[in-house]
């Protein structure tokens, strides 16, 4: 693969998001307005909406979730930016990352100087079975669905392949859950802002209050191993291995590098961008790694001129716990087969050598699929600018990475962000 460079530099000067969660009274456009307004407030030196030249919206399936197609012009109208060119990008759960990449290319090409990127998904209006079906359309409906696969099922299958090859246990999956809930408890935008230990305490208190037998979970692992407390969804994955069904939106403002300082006192520079595609899961040679992630990461690292060890903070696509473990290997943070040991050893905790998903990840923060890849960048924005509050990664990281997967890995988009002093 040739080491390509952008035609000109691209910078991030604003980033905001709605809460991620269940919002019965809010449609995707309402959530997008919230994200957009928060984003405007993060542009240090202010921006006139008249400066925004184009809009890219990442969204997986407003048709199936909301019965609404042709979504991008609506989002653009709701933030008062009609008649800017407005385009929706759909790559399943990587729609957000793919929309960011299209905005980067639009700026790098010289076509636009100032571009708004949004990510939206409104998933909670449908009953769970229909959400399951909608998500399943990100697989191959002709050849994978008749086998009975669901999205948890796909990742569970990767988990069985990974565990068989590398001798990993459910313990590693549990540690991803515990870590990401710990981080999410410090994120006011998270859908699950509670640690697993808090959930245990509240369930015990509730049982006591009702005069029912109080469960005797000794620790988080005992709770997460209890089939009644944490039922199987797709073995070996249980409820707490799965990201939730979520509503949410996020918004970013990208500008040409030479305009960055006119909007921001501390812009981030997007120095690496990679994207790759792959076949349906069964048509790949290896089920223990996501090849598109390895290729997207290689492209982004080469463009940025960095190695994995330079990454100070990473938001990775933990739609399921096993996905985070595989991601940390695909991104080169750990060797193949070492990721499960690394999480057990605490290497990916917020205060450790390789902080992963300081936001709480999709697992705890929530996974409004089309918004997730954009929401990842909001966390990197905060972390690199030292604005992450109680969940701030120590040491002032200067280089952050996002890893956004679509489907079972038919798409992966990786971006590298740098703070320059």
């Amino acid at each position: 693969m040739a080491n390509r460079k952008l035609g000109r530099g691209v910078a991030l000067v604003g980033a905001g998001m709605s809460g991620f969660g269940v919002f019965p009274r809010l449609s995707s456009r309402d959530l997008f307005v919230q994200a957009y307004l928060e984003m405007l407030g993060t542009v240090d030196k202010g921006i006139s909406p008249a400066d925004i030249e184009a809009v890219f919206i990442g969204n997986f399936s407003s048709e199936l979730f909301e019965g609404q197609g042709h979504t991008a012009p609506i989002m653009t109208e709701w933030v008062g930016l009609t008649p800017r060119p407005s385009t929706r990008i759909e790559n399943a759960c990587a729609s957000g990352g793919a929309a960011i990449r299209q905005a980067i290319l639009a700026i790098a090409s010289g076509m636009h100087d100032v571009v708004l990127v949004g990510g939206i998904e409104k998933m909670t209006s449908l009953p769970t079975e229909r959400v399951t079906d909608a998500l399943t359309t990100a697989g191959d409906v002709l050849y994978e669905i008749p086998a009975g696969f669901t999205f948890p099922g796909f990742y569970a299958a990767m988990a069985t392949a990974y565990m068989a090859r590398h001798g990993a246990s459910a313990e590693a999956l549990m540690q991803v859950t515990i870590k990401n809930h710990d981080n999410g408890s410090l994120n006011p935008k998270a859908q699950f802002g509670t640690r697993i230990s808090d959930i245990i305490a509240s369930k015990k208190a509730a049982a006591e209050q009702k005069g029912k037998p109080v469960p005797d979970w000794a620790d988080e692992r005992a709770f997460l191993s209890d089939e009644r407390a944490n039922p199987s969804i797709a073995w070996p994955l249980r409820l707490f291995d799965c990201s939730p069904i979520s509503d949410g939106s996020a918004a970013l403002l990208l500008v040409a590098e030479d305009r960055a300082k006119s909007y921001s006192a501390a812009p981030l520079y997007i120095t690496g961008s990679g994207q790759s595609s792959d076949a349906a899961l069964h048509s790949r040679s290896d089920f223990t790694s996501i090849g598109a992630a390895r290729r997207a990461a290689a492209e982004a690292y080469a463009m940025a001129g960095i190695t994995p060890s330079d990454v100070g903070v990473a938001e990775v696509h933990d739609c399921f716990t096993i996905a985070e473990i595989i991601a940390t290997e695909d991104l080169g943070f750990f060797e193949a087969g070492e990721g499960h040991k690394a999480v057990i050893e605490g290497c990916t905790r917020r205060d450790a050598v390789r902080p992963v998903n300081s936001s709480g990840g999709l697992k705890s923060k929530g996974h409004p699929v089309g918004a997730s890849g954009v929401g990842q960048v909001v966390e990197i924005w905060k972390q690199l600018r030292g604005e992450a509050g109680r969940r701030q990664v120590p040491g002032g990281p200067a280089l952050g990475l996002t890893h956004n997967v679509g489907g079972t890995g038919q798409t992966c988009v990786v971006h590298v962000f740098e703070r320059r002093s």
Binding site: E129, A157, I233, W235
Partner: protein
């Protein structure tokens, strides 16, 4: 039906109804693929032909699924009646998704990646309504 020349899902499904697992092969490169596609990826050869597959393979990945898709709920599966879905690597090289039969879904820890499997065609409905899904059985 012109299944001999149309390398389509419709043709593959027709073969399944006849209880045949068929792939396609490039006559020049001998590249075999299933699901069927009309061209081979490397050199874009368009010289594909249907080839009968042995139906023998190895279970490479699987899950016991409790929260079923509506497709499987219609077949009677769900929380109280979980099923096994898996990916099978065929002797001929390519792999495909299928329901996995002959496993103890209540003891998933007994199911082994690497187990040999044999094709089994899962019929439902009668007459013209009969449809056939792809399955593989462990331990035959």
């Amino acid at each position: 039906m012109s299944a001999t020349t149309d390398f389509t899902h419709a043709a593959f499904t027709q073969w399944l109804r006849e209880h045949k697992l068929m792939g396609v092969r490039s006559t020049a490169s001998q590249y075999v693929t299933v699901p069927p596609k009309p061209l081979a990826p490397a050199q874009h050869e368009c010289d594909m032909e249907w080839v009968s597959l042995s139906g023998k393979g190895t279970l490479e990945a699987f899950s016991i699924i409790y929260i079923a898709s509506t497709t499987m709920i219609r077949e009677g599966y769900g929380r109280d009646h979980p099923y096994c879905a898996g990916v099978v690597r065929l002797e001929e090289g390519p792999a495909i998704s299928a329901q996995i039969l002959g496993v103890d879904v209540s003891h998933p820890e007994t199911i082994r990646v690497g187990s040999p499997v044999t094709v089994e065609f899962i019929d439902s409905g009668e007459g013209a309504q009969r449809r056939t899904r792809l399955g593989f059985r462990v331990g035959v």
